[in-house]
Amino acid sequence: MYKYNDFDEGFLRARTAQFRKQVERRIAGNLTEEEFRPLRLMNGLYLQLHAYMLRVAIPYGTLNSRQMDQLAYIADTWDKGYGHFTTRQNIQYNWPKLSDVPDMLDALADVQMHANQTSGNTIRNVTSDPFAGAAIDEIEDPRPVAELLRQWSTDHPEFQFLGRKFKIAVGASEADRAVLKSHDLAVNIVRNDAGETGYQILVGGGLGRTPMVGKVLNEFLPREDLLPYVEAVLSVYNLLGRRDNKYKARIKITVHENGLDTIRALVDERFAELRPTFAGGDQELLDEIRTHFQPPQFKNAPIDAFEAAYESDPVFRSWADTNLAPHKNENYAIATISLKKHGETPGDATSAQMRQLAQIAREYAHDELRISHEQNVILPHVHKSHLPAIHALLRSEGLATANIGLISDIIACPGMDYCALATARSIPVAQKIATRFDELKLEHEIGALKIKISGCINACGHHHVGHIGILGLDRAGVENYQITLGGDGTETTVIGERAGPGFAYDEIVPAIERLIHAYLELRDSEEETFLQAYRRLGMAPFKDALYPEAAKKNAA
């Protein structure tokens, strides 16, 4: 993985030293909150409902064991012994003290991590496919390009005061595991008919108040044009994007209001100006970055231990069937470790769990860990012979839940348990759904299903692209939950459709239960997933299940 050079190291140390002074000045009363707020946000520090929250970037979701151990150390030393992994490959600490944050940032810098640009109207943490470097369907590892974009966007003087935040994701596979089409800008590494690789550029995707699917701005961009082209897009957005209305400030609205063709023409114009100023230094840098992302030395060893455990241990078998994905190397697997144990908070890991994950990565998995936007941890490179031992270590820390891609593998944002912007809670809704379906023992029978929950219209919980989406709102001073159906966050992205009136806090789980029972009745075979059934049948039968009273009235 990428290793900081002297420049990176110097930059980061200067930045944390600067923030330390800013915190000191705030505490001494020499900076007002108004003056301090933008400074703390640039360093990932929010003030939430009960405390500050520090959002730490995990660029393209990649961590090594030393970094994971340090995240555990930070959780124990300055927080309450846990961290929350988010849908944008960040980790959030929910309880830091303002006076401790400079020390936390120094501790992060010690392992080449930071909280830069995890907030504010700037280019945010660049995300990518958590299976990068291991996926069977990838053209190449997308992370060098993501790292190039991270370096280019860090402290880029032109883009520190954009009209609104700007999120970039990078992919390189047919299957989209990085919600590319819901990003302001997505870079998709593709191959053309001539067999050359280049970039497909998507623009204007986003969830939130006005959800939109990203559109193709450029079908095939030559490799050496990437940075000037992305810079041209940002530059057009920076000038054209609206600043009069916060809700119309994201690039999706700029694209929508001006039209894709106009944006493309403006980008091409700006690109023509910028292109000559990139003399190839960016390409040399990319080549250098690539050397940091060489595949590990794959082991060539028998996998009998895996096969024996798979035959003899039904618990291991269930975990392997549910949580493993195929790896480029047939003796290897990609193991997804669920942070969704039934009844627990989605995406939370205790410091003991983090240490266990670090230990497993070090000992058995080429020292690599990934965080997925679905709030799970991934071991991208596991020789199959190690899987039984890994499974045993996971079990001892409550990490062996076999539920990846199932009904309890729920994305949930922090909601009103933490977030100052929330209109309702999301975590307890996720906990209750997971617990309920675990009691019913229906999870595996239901099969592939993605439930995603947001605690407000900002949609950090990606509810629009959940097969079942749940949005928590405040309706006249009471929590109320709106259901959307048929959303899809993959390469076939679709924004879900609202089913009807919302449900009260204590009605939402029974409503989901009715929905699932209807699906089990309606599906044409066990193979037909919820999403497929919805696509075949449409909203009507699911709506009847959600609103039985209305259905009865209509039938009468």
Partner: protein, 102 residues
């Protein structure tokens, strides 16, 4: 016609801990909602909010929140303020555990 004034309390977050605090009648800050001064008069509310806002070195984001007189003192009316006065529902963290120690 202006809407009838509903009783309020002044609340904010402490500068260092970020913890939720409430303005009491004797000009101190408490971490306990029930200790807050329940303000029933609009003019007094403005005065108390201004008093809070002047204490920038100690707190962040003072505002007025609706409250009612409860058994032990002022109680929140909206669920957001209720959560702020207790802590998160997924862990026994925040005020729900710390309250006993203040």
């Amino acid at each position: 016609m202006a809407r009838a004034f509903t009783p309020k309390i002044v609340t904010a977050n402490a500068l260092i801990e970020g913890d939720v605090i409430y303005l009491t009648a004797d000009d101190t800050w408490s971490r306990n909602h029930a200790d807050a001064e329940l303000i029933t008069d609009e003019a007094r509310a403005a005065v108390r909010l201004a008093f809070a806002e002047a204490q920038q070195d100690f707190l962040v984001g003072a505002y007025l929140a609706d409250a009612v007189e409860g058994d032990a003192g002022p109680a929140p009316t909206h669920f957001r303020e209720e959560f702020r006065s207790v802590g998160p529902s997924n862990y026994n963290h925040g005020k729900q555990v710390e309250q006993n120690n203040v």
